[in-house]
Amino acid sequence: MAKKPVHFSHNGVERAAFADDGQNLLEFLRRGAGDLSPKYGCGQGTCGACTVMIDGETQLSCLVLAESIDGKSIRTAAGLASDQLDPLQVAFMDHFAAQCGYCTPGMLVSARALLERNPKPTREEVMEAISGNLCRCTGYEPIISAILAVAEGRAQA
């Protein structure tokens, strides 16, 4: 099976790795690049647990062909924190927005992309932004509250 070299920016770090033929980006990131933050949920694009940003846009890594990200910039939940946690991560803790935690990395990436595009979203805009991410624990309320708290500057960074 042919291996294809892929050069990409991974959370700000330039990297190169080989992608298998037909390999999806989720597997490539987890196995090839050692980033376990995007999760495998359904493999069909329904759950959003594998959400990553590609050149700033949220996409479903399980449905992206790994080799197609050559030359692009990938951001995942693992890259959100620097020496400090991202304000969204703090707010998710403060608002009990994670229970089992499986959807959390995808939720965080969708929320981060929203706030970069629209720093002061309405509640409806927050709901829309996370509508492609399923959570079976929280009932979404704590997640929405956490994102709004960051947008309204109420969360401690």
Binding site: M1, A2, D20, D21, G22, N24, G43, Q44, G45, G48, T51, E57, T58, Q59, L60, C62, L63, V64, L65, E67, S68, S110, A113, M127, E128, A129, S131, G132, N133
Partner: protein
Amino acid sequence: MTSTVETVSTMAEAARAVAQGATFLAGGTIVMRDVNAGEAAPRIVRTIDPSLNDIRISGDSVVLGAGVTMAQVLANRDLEFLHPAARMIGGPQVRNMGTVGGNLFAPHPYGDFAVALLALGARAVMAGQSGGRPLDDLMRDRSRSPALVAAIECPRPRAGSFGFLKVSRVKPKGVSVLSVAALLPREGGRIRGPRVAWGAMGPGPMRGASAERLLDGQELSAATIDRVVQAAAEGLSPPTDAIATDWYRREVAGVHLKRLLEQMERG
């Protein structure tokens, strides 16, 4: 079974591969599911041809490259008449990935954007061919794409003459119970040459001939709407799936067409 993916630089090369039986990969929201399940064709082709993402706007029509995503449609103010349909395709991630071309061949219950294009009287420009092919032709056999679509040419509707509505159980991103679009050009207050298209009411997007017949030559009045609604589901054979039965879809088709027409009547 694993698939081999070829990346080519032009649409013409991709069209040749498709003619030889390769599956074309656009946004991948449907094809990659099959790849993940090991059910995709052995040969897959994709292209990095930038023309696939062109959007050209002129006075009375727009041309959308087949690779234009739903998010790109939504980011373009000249395409406002297509926003109600583009906004209803999946969640944000799917709209960032899913393309206009892919929507034409998306299996039931998908294809909501194609429903809007069908009602608008859009034409498909096939790769390597000049002149457009009516979407009506293309929609008749969607099960496999006969050739590669390079772009869609879509007439721009006059203000207030076009409407789209999608009904889903889960909001805001559920799949269709049904979707319906109507283009009602008017001359001296009367409808001339209406086009109605349904989604999830047959094997793929299809025209609503009975509704069109009853709208043609009429004013958009409460009496007209009542007559159209009675006959809305005539000639349609909706499938039964996890979302709704064929019976239910037929029962509610008129209700939703009525809502759409009333919304257009109010302007």
